[in-house]
Symmetry: C2
Subunit: 453 residues, 2 copies
């Protein structure tokens, strides 16, 4: 047992108690009612980092949802590690589905239950505790900068604004994003890719107002009919997206990466039945499930607005219909390009009698992280020592908009999380394994120490 491990073994309970203090603050960023709680959580984090010996701690960019920027002691000649995390949480509703109250952190069966336990308070706090562990000598092995935001669950606008004004804040060798998860228990994972997103609305207008289907049905254009026809053409039933040019930029994952995915423990039938809850998986079936999830763009309809949708029957011919749609983007696609291609495709599919428009709502570019940086070997070795198994390199089909920005000044972005797939983030009974948390402290402690060598 190393000194680090002994320290964590001796101090683990105290660390968990500290984490519980932070978890008790209902720092929901999506509700203005909790603005004060978000501020309190930021202050708690700042005070904590100050107490650990950070000579510079700032709360910046917002009164209510400030970004905590804290630097550890300067260690000339050593690499700089940027630690990204967020102290805000998702709303806890529906409360009745929680087995213990969301803001009363409770340990049961080796798990710590609370809103934010895994997303993201527990995860970034493990890195904070690793920093504490390596600070014991007074002189840490590397330069560390914490960038802990309070608005990740509602768009990160404040952080984006801050980094536009002060891009030097992300100058670092490595950026740790401890906001992801293991592949499976015992299988630590580094996510090297995130899909991007292009979210918008397609609106079709076919008449000046809704019409009576008895009096005008048969000759009056129907906005829903027109929209449905456009949507059905935008994707084939086999799953191919019919937006000319969309696949041009798509960079297929390297064979070595795809081969690695084949070795991941995965039961497709169980995934389909239990996780997706469907009778079949859809999409481009000549590609593996992982490639469809991580390496290929998607086109989804999220909902259709317009006409009559209340209970019962109304015989209206809708004059306007809007589909909320999004595309997930993969390396090397760009939001701006995809937005343009979508608009052109919709325009080309629209019949001449319809006024059709596409409104862009939000977007994020995809991310593909190079794993050339030696830090990836270092974290692999740290996991191997603690977990008995090195990391697998996976991707995520989701999007974390801030990730590309963290790497903008050259930092190697390392998405190395401690969560498990059943941690129920965003859902009732969110949890973090106590063991996952403590292993995380040991892993990141090793990582910081080894990186200093």
């Amino acid at each position: 047992m190393t000194k680090l491990d002994s320290f964590v073994a001796a101090q683990g309970d105290r660390m968990l108690d500290e984490l519980k203090q932070l978890l008790r603050i209902p720092s929901v960023s999506t509700s203005p009612d909790h603005a004060g709680d978000c501020r309190r959580a930021a202050e708690w984090v700042a005070d904590h980092l100050r107490a650990l010996g950070c000579p510079s701690v700032e709360l910046v960019a917002s009164e209510t949802h400030p970004v905590v920027v804290a630097d550890g002691p300067r260690v000339p000649g050593k690499p700089t590690v940027l630690v990204y995390g967020h102290y805000d949480v998702q709303p806890p509703e529906p409360l009745e589905l929680w087995d213990s109250p969301p803001y009363e952190p409770t340990i049961r069966n080796g798990n710590l239950y609370a809103r934010g336990a895994t997303d993201d308070k527990g995860q970034f706090f493990a890195v904070v505790k690793a920093f504490e562990a390596v600070m014991r000598s007074g002189k840490p092995p590397v330069n560390v900068r914490f960038l802990i935001e309070g608005q990740e669950e509602s768009g990160s606008d404040i952080l984006f604004g801050l980094l536009e004004k002060r891009p030097e804040l992300v100058e670092a060798d490595v950026a740790i994003v401890a906001d992801t998860q293991y592949w499976a228990p015992g299988w630590p994972a580094i996510e090297v890719g995130l899909r991007g997103i292009c979210y918008g609305e397609i609106t079709v207008r076919t008449a000046k107002g809704d019409l009576h289907s008895g009096l005008y049905g048969g000759v009056a254009p129907n906005a829903h009919d027109t929209l449905v026809r456009i949507l059905a053409k935008l994707k084939s039933s086999s799953g191919r997206i019919n937006i000319p040019g969309l696949y041009e930029a798509v960079k297929r994952p390297a064979k070595v990466e795809r081969d690695a995915w084949k070795k991941l423990p995965f039961n497709e039938r169980r995934f389909m039945r239990e996780e997706v809850g469907a009778k079949a998986l859809t999409g481009l079936s000549r590609y593996s499930v992982f490639e469809r999830l991580w390496g290929l763009p998607t086109f989804e309809i999220h909902g259709i607005v317009g006409g009559f949708t209340a209970h019962g029957a109304k015989t209206v011919i809708p004059a306007e219909a809007t589909a909320k749609v999004s595309l997930r983007l993969v390396p090397n696609q760009r939001v701006k390009t995809v937005e343009r291609l979508l608009k052109r495709a919709v325009k080309d599919l629209a019949p001449p009698y319809a006024d059709v428009s596409v409104t862009f709502i939000h977007g994020a570019d995809p991310v593909l992280v190079s794993i050339d940086h030696p830090a990836f070997g270092v974290i692999d070795e740290a996991f191997r020592e603690v977990e008995g198994r090195g990391v697998v390199f996976t991707r995520s089909g989701g999007s974390i908009p801030v990730v590309p920005v963290l790497g903008k000044r050259g930092a190697a972005v390392m998405m190395a999380g401690l969560g498990l797939p059943d941690d129920r983030l965003h859902a009732p009974n969110e949890k973090l394994g106590v063991d996952q948390f403590l292993k995380g402290v040991r892993v990141f402690g090793r990582f910081l120490t080894a990186l200093g060598r």
Copy 2:
């Protein structure tokens, strides 16, 4: 000038004053708040018919929305005329769009403005006043039965129930339905066809719950995607409905009827621009606008429920989607058959991974009236004398569910209305031309008299 015309000329103002009394009662049947007003309107009509000399007047089938059944004096050996009408009205909202209050009948520029002026108080009251005119001798020329219901605007369930128990109530030679309109000013019309309707919901379920489009997009089936694909296949872009067997029963309007439609004054471009408010008319373009509106079935999407339809963006893959749809039916289609054909077509189009169901909501069979009965010649002559022009035979694309029932015991159903196309039924500033009302009394007076010969 006949005696009838002199009587109407002399008594017209008094007749209008009586109609205004009825129009002042806010007998909205769709709102329980107005149940008492509906009862009051029924009693007013019953009292009025009693005062005119009907020996038998009943309020039956409901306390709050009774059907008024009134028989004129028995005239053995003479035909029986059934007069259908309804004393209930549509809600008047939005009130701020009325130039005079909806329940303060007001004459402006030769029009009587009030809720119910044309739909249907003013129209059936013109037949009542014609009955009064021909009753002056004490012995009317024909047997007359009034069947005035109070629930037409909310489904006619009470009348349907009554006629199921007492089908003999519709035993008559002719049934007058004065709840329609002229083709244009100066162009009296008899509607000989009504489309039927088959209204239902198509529901698609593809997973046990909504899924995150980042984590599952690319492999998880999307209920909206599946639904949209089914809907797009149910009708071709040219307007042909792809429900196998749907057109089999369709009886094309006779050439003589279609030729007559060609002679109706009609400006297609103005209809498209001003009435439909569209850049083009759609549907099966090799058929005329009238044939598409009156002689061909339709398939319309009214709205799509499910997924995310609130403001903003949510990246959900919907597990369930429901389309509210309806078909308008034409002679000789039947609701029950079309319901079965729709269900089978949807089932055949559904992919194996989706659970798809079709729920029937309501329906009405189409109506095609034979104009062989001599009464049609009689009404044509009556209009010719009063209006200087005989009737044109048109159809309506809408549905009046009670009409088929009125003809069930052999009565020739005669949909002969007094309204004009711009009467704004169901809308603010509903009106009936004073002249149309008085001409109506003269026309129906002539009709009753001539039918007795």
